[in-house]
Amino acid sequence: MDIPRLVKMANGIGAYFEAYPDRQQAVNGVADHLRRFWEPRMRRELVDYIRRGDGSLRKVVLEAAAILEKEAAAD
């Protein structure tokens, strides 16, 4: 997948949920959105991208992706 596009889409989701006053609700919102609407290869590529260490993702997306990574490891 096109990583810059994935990052852009993820940051767009993050920008929406960041406005939520409850931080955990925001993080859960991003995680839930990725879970419900992103095909598994897209989620995997996002997680792989984060592991490679580029810093262009919003913090709320990083936290949400961590939840998804934990879930994937548990499966």
């Binding site: 997948m1 767009g12 419900r36 897209m42």
Partner: protein
């Protein structure tokens, strides 16, 4: 002319809730609502009072003097059409004196009318002929030497109908139809007395006038003065078939009037619940594409897209298509193939394609073109209310006191709905238009928006938030509604957010470009209205904050109590005839039918039992992601039903590269198009006239379409999909689309009560239709939201990443015109091209002057994504800094300009905000030269 056999009550019905009145007509009692005309009361008794100027779709006029009656106790001979009933009235409709007076009236009419009935196009279906026969006119005592109008020249300038003033009796039905039904006011009666003549305004010819070719005047005309050219050519029909229009999301009901298997004309059905006997130029007249010589009639295949097509049999084409998908699935896995369904195909056909992808391909990689338009509606209203569809039926607008039109151009995109909105505004409702462009609705004859908020493209959320800020901070919110119907915790969080100064009109004025005082005044108008409804289009959804805007509008409607009854609500104007249906049918990578997530175990188990296969619980690829995956090498094959992504998708260079990168593309469509350049198989599809099935319109109304002519390629689309699935080893055997709908109903709670038998009885059903709503659901969220409590959400304004710059200082936004539909595949193959022959770029005079651009000149439009050339139209409909065009002609290649930006929630492309520069053109661009069909 009306359809033969249609009963005409003469004048409109009175209010059904008015007190009842009893009177006597020809000695027979009848009870009718107060306000009913004597003429209509007589018709209820099957007493047909003669008439020429009266018809039950128009307000009475009282000019022809044929419908005179005798009323006991009243002097003279009042016109029954303009005389309301009263209790105890005794009416006589026939007497020797009435007969004499009527004969004299008809004799006068006949004295100035051609007597060539046998060669007249209305012969056999002419109200004038009927009245002359009824009145017993046997001679014309005035002779034939006097002044008359028989030499008046015909006007054949309109591509679809002819105006023959020699046959006109100046009854003014056409003038009134244009006023009352269509609201265009294009016709008038010129001059007075004997010189009176119908004219299309000062232009004199219909083609040069403001006429929008809706045909309402033609349908209303009692003579052959206004007649369809198709009726002139083919004569009167012999039978008719009820169907639903295949163009826009209004879903007008039509009688297809036939002679053998040839269509004579499409007449809007008077029982049509969506359109109430009205139509537009597309539905009424633009059906010739179905038999156009360009129609694909034979399957085509090729091994590589640089090879010429080979015409083959259906068996060979289906086997080739199945083998291609099997090959990819075996080598790369089911995730490497997918499908794209058509919003022009039926519910049954879309259902079958998503079933094929899920059950035969083995993935959830299926999407539909709502991705490009109203996916944010599905998301936003789904989150806020529990169902992502319109809350109202169309008739609801007639109870609205304030109508807000946001990012829509209903008089061009949804003309029949536009006519209804105009009618309501003429009755006194207030109109607020929110649009960066002065769409027609902002100012029309007898309709002027109280506010036209011409905001900068991309700032919808800021403006709608400001509306809500006013409602909340000025104590205009409906606390009783909120307390009873909405989640209190989420309301509290939202209230705190929306009340912050950054959401005030004063703060957003700078962002939106709309003065704070106007925002405040418009917001107050909305919030204080008894009933206020929001109607919106792609100017809301096709933005990076499309879903956020829908959520913001939902917040506003809930905060002001404008949900759950007639006259209010959130009303998406869905563009295509069955885009609502495509969404309902689960043609989404994350949802089954009825908007149930693929991860929902119970739902998935039901489909697995019904379909006999295990199904993937993970969401699949959206079409946007399919392009990316294709370029990355992990998505290899696509089954495209009735779509042209190589014209309609944004960022066209990217999409074409993705199509080229795929190993196998199968297309199913009416015509070869831009996308067929990248296809390996082309299967000739069927139009809405060539098959049975159902469409679902914007108000959730499921309506039948019925086959009237055989499919050009020999098969209906649903039959093709069945054969492909069977060839893939997943047999699909249905003998009729009704069986497919029965399966849908078994598996989809909101459709549980739907069947063809019920649709045939009811004419159309609005879902949900099940045990709790046996007759369907015109208005949703009455009493409670579908999700229980309405959900307020935080809708922070986040500016789009698409910014103007020195290199690209203008913003391009896009829209539709009346005569063309979407990619123009159908309408460009009709005489509509005579009316509008190309996409034009609207540019403000100031911007044009700065660039040395003259009106009508060819210009190059360039964005960071590409360049194209089209013709400029200098116009003050756009504001300085904004240019506008349409996307109906492949020659203009508008989508080489649009970007990869999309709605954060749904990836609906941000078609409405593209930074561009415009300059005089030197030659065609590469994009223009690449167009093939």
């Amino acid at each position: 002319m009306r359809s033969r056999g249609d009963h005409d009550y003469g004048t409109p019905a009175g209010r059904a809730d008015a007190p009842r009145v009893t009177l006597e007509i020809d000695g027979r009692p009848v009870e009718v609502p107060q306000g009913t005309s004597v003429m209509r009361a007589a018709a209820m008794l099957e007493i047909s009072i003669p008439r020429l100027c009266a018809t039950d779709s128009l307000e009475p006029f009282g000019s022809c003097r044929l419908c005179i009656v005798e009323i006991e106790g009243r002097k003279g001979y009042p016109a029954s059409c303009t005389t309301p009933v009263s209790g105890g009235m005794r009416v006589r409709t026939e007497s020797p004196r009435l007969a004499q007076l009527r004969r004299n009236v008809m004799e006068l009419y006949v004295s100035d009318h051609p007597l060539d009935c046998l060669i007249c196009p209305a012969n056999g279906n002419c109200e004038f002929q009927d009245m002359a026969a009824y009145a017993g006119v046997r001679e014309v005592r005035y002779g034939s030497d006097g002044a008359n109008h028989l030499a008046r020249a015909k006007d054949s300038s309109n591509p679809y109908f002819t105006f023959d003033p020699a046959r006109c009796i100046v009854c003014s039905r056409c003038v009134r139809a244009c006023e009352e039904i269509q609201g265009t006011f294009a016709l008038t009666i010129d001059s007075r007395g004997f010189a009176s003549a119908i004219t299309p305004g000062p232009a004199r010819a219909f083609s040069d006038s403001e006429c929008v070719s809706c045909g309402a005047c033609v349908y209303a005309c009692p003579t052959a003065a206004l007649t369809e050219k198709s009726v002139i050519d083919r004569g009167l029909p012999t039978h008719r078939v009820l169907t639903t229009c295949g163009y826009c999301g209004v879903g007008c009901t039509f009688q297809v009037e036939m002679k053998g298997d040839a269509i004579v004309r499409m007449a809007p059905d008077r029982e049509g619940r969506a359109n109430h006997a009205h139509a537009c130029v597309k539905g009424r007249f633009s059906w010739g594409f179905a038999t156009h010589p360009d129609r694909a009639r034979h399957p085509l295949i090729r091994d590589r897209i640089d090879q010429p097509w080979r015409e083959v049999s259906w068996e060979e084409a289906i086997a080739f298509a199945a083998a291609g998908f099997e090959r990819i699935k075996k080598k790369f896995g089911p995730g490497a193939i997918g499908g794209l369904t058509s919003s022009r195909c039926t519910n049954e056909e879309v259902y079958l394609v998503q079933k094929l992808v899920r059950a035969a391909f083995g993935s959830n990689n299926v999407d539909n073109c709502a991705r490009l338009c109203h996916a944010p509606t599905g998301y936003g209203l789904g989150v806020a209310f529990g169902t992502g569809a319109a809350t109202q039926d169309f008739d609801s607008v007639l109870a609205a006191d304030v109508i807000v039109v946001v990012g829509a151009n209903p008089t061009e995109g949804h003309p029949v709905m536009g006519a209804m909105i105009k009618r309501r505004v003429r009755e006194g409702a207030q109109l607020i238009v929110v649009d960066p462009r002065a769409v027609e609705m902002a100012r029309l004859p007898h309709v002027e928006a109280a506010f036209h908020l011409n905001l900068r493209p991309g700032t919808n959320v800021a403006l709608i938030n400001a509306f809500a800020h006013v409602a909340v901070t000025e104590n205009l919110a409906r606390q009783d509604f909120i307390a009873a119907r909405c989640d209190p915790r989420e309301y509290a969080a939202w209230r705190k957010f929306i009340a912050e100064p950054r959401n005030s009109p004063e703060a957003v004025a700078e962002i939106t470009g709309v003065p704070a005082s106007e925002i405040r005044a418009a917001a107050r108008m909305y919030a204080t209205a008894r009933n206020a409804g929001i109607y919106y289009g792609l100017g809301v959804t096709e933005h990076s904050q499309g879903s956020t805007t829908v959520l913001a509008m939902a917040n506003l409607a809930m905060a002001t109590g404008n949900v759950g009854r007639a006259g209010v609500g959130i009303n998406p104007l869905r563009g295509q005839n069955n885009v609502q249906g495509a969404c309902d049918m689960g043609s989404f990578p994350h949802e089954f039918t009825g908007y149930r997530h693929v991860s929902d175990a119970a739902t998935r188990a039901a489909f697995e039992r019904a379909w006999g296969v295990a199904l993937d619980p993970e969401p699949g690829l959206r079409i946007t992601n399919m392009w990316d995956a294709a370029l990355a090498g992990s998505f290899k094959g696509l089954y495209i039903q009735g779509e042209d992504p190589a014209q309609s998708e944004p960022d066209l260079h990217h999409v074409k590269a993705a199509l080229r990168a795929m190993d196998f593309v199968v297309m199913q469509d009416l015509f070869l198009n831009q996308t067929s350049e990248f296809a390996h198989v082309f299967l000739p599809g069927s139009s809405f006239l060539e098959k049975d099935g159902t469409f679902t319109n914007s108000e959730r109304r499921i309506s039948r379409i019925r086959r009237v002519i055989p499919p050009a390629g020999g098969k209906a689309d649903w039959e093709i999909t069945c054969e492909l699935a069977t060839a893939l080893g997943y047999p699909m055997r249905y003998s009729h689309p009704s069986e497919i709908m029965d399966e849908i109903a078994r598996l989809t709670p909101a459709f549980a009560g739907v069947s063809y038998a019920k649709l045939d009885r009811a004419g159309g059903i609005q879902w949900p239709c099940n045990d709790t709503a046996r007759d369907g659901t015109p208005i949703m969220h009455v009493g409670a939201f579908v999700r229980g409590k309405g959900r307020f959400t935080i809708t922070e304004y986040v500016p789009t990443e698409e910014k103007t710059s020195e290199e690209f200082p203008l913003i391009l936004t896009t829209g539709r015109i009346l005569t063309q539909h979407n990619a123009g595949t159908q309408t460009r193959r009709t005489p509509n091209v005579v009316i509008d022959s190309e996409d034009l770029l609207e540019i403000h005079p100031h911007d044009a002057q700065q660039r040395g651009i003259r009106d009508g000149a060819l210009v190059e439009v360039r964005s960071r994504k590409g360049a194209t050339r089209l013709r400029a139209e200098i116009s003050e409909r756009v504001q300085p800094g904004v240019v506008y065009t349409t996307f109906h002609y492949p020659e203009s290649q508008i989508n080489v300009l649009t970007t990869e930006n999309s709605d954060w929630a749904t990836n609906c492309p941000e078609y409405k905000v593209t930074a561009v520069e415009v300059m005089p053109a030197i030659g065609a661009t590469e994009a223009n030269r690449s167009v093939t069909h």
